[in-house]
């Protein structure tokens, strides 16, 4: 029988964060989604974890969204205009949209959300830092003035910064809104049992047509293989990330009840080389490391092919993606030459800080192995994630493994990472030319011109090699065949509104 139908979640009153108005979803078309981590904060305002977005996208609608090709499409916005200076945006909103608590969605709401997200404590502040002024023109039109041209602006609004929360609910719950999120989205928050699950029920009054599912349940599985086991046994319908256990993907593919969806993702994986610490103050030595790693093999060994080789932050599908991302097979002659130029013809050694998970360990071991033939000795150091970030901030490392999950706009994977003193410029590089190009890139509105800018920047960065781009991980989902209407969106986040379940 269909084992998943037996689990209708009933929120136990003592444990749940349910309010009186929220009751468990009725009916049995409950979509069960496996998540690899517990979403810590469902309020877009304070959310910083990637996994939050998986849930938020079912509760909140955004002003804009991505379509399955990664193109920006309006969502709560009807349309928008931008002036030629790239500083004034006029957004027209859909009308007749109501929040899940029954309040109206309108221009005031948008203004409220922008202002809220610009507060000091907001995690969105950085994304919206160029937003200068928000004016309500009429209930369905807002005008947004930027302090400087910022081409990723609309792209930013396809994510958390564009999610519209109910001002009434925010007023009602205050700081506790994060435990009572209310949006305009297809599903209504029911409960969140920390570390275990989040339950949503259908929003019958959804503006974009009544969702087909009765509800959605996100189950947390920190243990990848366990999640896969649950997918196979029918306890889960959808699994967010199969790359945590790529070795098990074939067995899912073999399963007649399941499909695997694998698409290029937006992010990248690689290694920061600290340009302020020996030996990587020397760009030839950085380049030697960069050129010595065989991306194809790395992908084959670590990702079983569920990734594409990288040489830039721009993944396939990104507007800046192109030749700058092409990789060449390592050539021992070139590497020896680089080592010689770097003054270390007999090789050198460095400490490489990696995370503590098994896959990160494997990553380190593979890098270690690939550098060995050139007498570059790698000593691995496992560091916990928080410490890793701190070391990155402070430059307490020689080499450090941290990737980026990626965003639709090239700037979102570029600017902060490469400009002098950029918050994510862990390599601590300072290249005036790059600083200039990065700024140009975010101010230019024309796509073709932007690509040219980024291409130019990448040639410089290839030469400098302060970050070793290794691969773009695919977004790989496991999907039960009972599910229909699933649309893949390149940001890797599920859109549940269209999904149906047999």
């Amino acid at each position: 029988g269909d084992s998943s139908t037996t689990t209708t979640s009933s929120a136990s009153p003592t444990l749940s964060t349910t309010t009186a108005s929220n009751s468990a979803p009725s009916g049995n078309k409950i979509l069960k989604i496996g998540l690899k981590a517990d979403p810590p904060n469902l309020d877009p305002y304070g959310s910083s974890a990637l996994v939050d977005r998986m849930v938020q996208n079912s509760i909140f609608d955004k002003l804009f969204d991505l379509d399955k090709d990664g193109k920006i499409i309006p969502m709560l916005a009807e349309s928008y205009e931008v002036d030629s200076a790239g500083k004034n945006y006029t957004i027209k909103l859909k009308s007749g949209v109501k929040f899940q608590d029954g309040t109206d969605f309108n221009a005031e709401v948008v203004k409220f959300n922008f202002e809220r997200n610009k507060e000091d404590k907001s995690k969105r502040k950085n994304e919206l830092k160029f937003v200068d002024k928000i004016t309500v023109v009429d209930p369905s039109i807002v005008k947004i003035e930027l302090s400087q041209p910022f081409s990723p602006f609309i792209s930013v609004l396809t994510d958390r910064a564009g999610m519209m929360v109910s001002p009434e609910a925010v007023k009602k719950y205050g700081d506790d809104f994060l435990n009572h999120p209310v949006g305009t989205g297809p599903f209504i928050f029911v409960e969140h049992v920390n570390g275990d699950h989040v339950t949503l029920k259908r929003n019958d009054n959804y503006w974009n047509g009544k969702p087909k599912l009765d509800g959605v349940e996100f189950k947390v599985f920190t243990n990848g293989p366990a999640a896969i086991q649950n997918l196979k046994s029918g306890q889960l319908d959808l699994l967010d990330d199969l790359t945590v256990a790529t070795k098990l993907i074939p067995s899912i593919k073999e399963d007649a009840n399941l499909t695997v969806i694998s698409n290029p993702g937006m992010g990248y994986q690689g290694i920061h080389l600290n340009t302020t610490k020996e030996p990587f103050t020397n760009k030839y030595l950085r380049a030697a490391v960069d050129r010595a790693i065989d991306r194809d093999t790395v992908i084959k060994v670590l990702m079983d092919g569920y990734a594409s080789p990288a040489n830039s932050p721009f993944a396939p599908g990104n507007l800046a993606y192109g030749d700058s991302d092409k990789v060449e097979k390592p050539d021992p002659a070139i590497i020896k030459d680089l080592l010689a130029k770097g003054g270390k013809p007999d090789g050198f050694s460095f400490k490489f800080q990696i995370g503590t998970s098994p896959s990160q360990e494997q990553f380190g071991a593979v890098v270690q192995n690939m550098l060995k033939p050139y007498n570059i000795t790698v000593e691995l150091e496992k560091i916990e994630f928080g410490q890793l970030l701190e070391n990155g901030d402070k430059g307490n490392f020689q080499a450090l493994q941290i990737g980026w999950s990626g965003r639709p706009d090239p700037d979102q994977s570029f600017y902060d990472f490469v400009v002098t003193k950029g918050p994510q410029n862990y390599s601590h590089s300072s290249i005036p030319e790059i600083d200039k190009l990065a700024t140009e890139g975010r101010q230019e509105l024309d796509d073709a011109k932007r690509k040219a800018i980024y291409d130019k920047a990448m040639t410089i960065l290839h030469d400098e090699a302060n970050y070793v781009y290794l691969y773009h991980v695919n977004n790989v989902f496991g999907l039960s065949k009972k599910i229909s209407g699933f649309n893949y969106v390149p940001d890797g986040v599920f859109r549940t509104a269209t999904i149906d379940k047999k």
């Binding site: 293989p225 896969i228 945590v244 098990l248 060994v301 494997q362």
Partner: protein, 276 residues
């Protein structure tokens, strides 16, 4: 000789000793037993089933699991000896002094701290200490050592309390022997049996704890072949390559069993309370 025979009769203890000796031999002659480099990656032979070339198969980086398991013996022995050594170094002197002098320090500082530390779940204590000290083998050992120390404080103190009222200790005092000599010359040697038993049993736990910490990612630095971290790697592959989990787990099991058997045997042999 009679002593040896007595020990011999406790056959299980002997099996334990045998297992540990084999482990020692494996650690010493790792190079000869498993000549394949445990860290050599062979991307053409990933996750292969056990075969003549790779007795235990290969892991997800194409490394020879047999070699890694054998080398793992070195780490395990070090883990056992170092962690328990640290625990004893901390625990025994504290236990001796606080048991001998009693009083406020003993009752309110030492024993309450021991209580408090034992109210912590052990693994979480070790984990927190390891997190404080940072990952790495040495720190993991220190963490486990500190985690084990309270049990040595307790057992040593218990012995001291039992011994200090014994007439030969009183006699030493009556003779005018200095406290230091009473503690280290008379009490410690007589308190040793249970401490030795405890230490063998703790070594078993030490190996398990090292494996657990490594399993949680706080143990040795990669690519060192700790059995715990091998299992951690293998866990993701249970359905694809279960044998990657069989062997390191079996190795841990065997060695821990060895120490437990030895500890049990020693107990039969040293502890007069365990009657024939």
């Amino acid at each position: 000789m009679k002593e040896f025979k007595k020990f011999f009769r406790t056959g299980l203890g002997l099996i334990g000793a045998l297992i540990i000796v084999s482990l020692l031999l494996a650690a010493i002659f790792a190079q000869q037993i498993a000549p394949i480099d445990p860290n050599a990656q062979d991307y053409n032979h990933i996750l292969e089933k056990p075969s003549r070339d790779h007795f235990f198969g290969t892991d997800d980086l194409g490394r020879d699991i047999f070699s890694r398991v054998i080398r793992g013996a070195q780490i395990s022995i070090k883990a056992a000896v170092i962690s328990v050594g640290i625990a004893m170094l901390i625990g025994i002197p504290i236990g001796l002094l606080s048991g001998y002098y009693r009083g406020f320090w003993d009752e309110w500082i030492v024993m309450r701290s021991v209580d408090a530390m034992q109210a912590f779940p052990f693994l979480i204590l070790a984990l927190a200490i390891a997190a404080v000290l940072g990952t790495g083998f040495g720190n993991a050992m220190l963490a486990i050592g500190i985690g084990f120390a309270p049990s040595f404080v307790r057992i040593t103190r218990g012995q001291v309390l039992a011994l200090r009222s014994l007439e030969y200790i009183q006699a030493a005092k009556a003779i005018g022997v200095k406290d230091r000599n009473i503690i280290f010359g008379h009490i410690l040697p007589n308190a040793l049996s249970p401490i030795i038993i405890q230490s063998t049993l703790a070594m078993a736990s030490g190996i398990l704890a090292e494996a657990s910490l490594s399993y949680l990612g706080l143990g040795v630095q990669p690519p060192a072949p700790s059995w715990g971290s091998m299992l951690n790697q293998a866990q993701g592959l249970l359905s694809a390559a279960p044998y990657a989990a069989y062997f390191p787990g079996a190795a841990i099991f065997l060695v821990v069993l060895g120490f437990n058997l030895l500890g049990d045997g020693l107990q039969q042999y040293l502890d007069p309370k365990v009657k024939e």
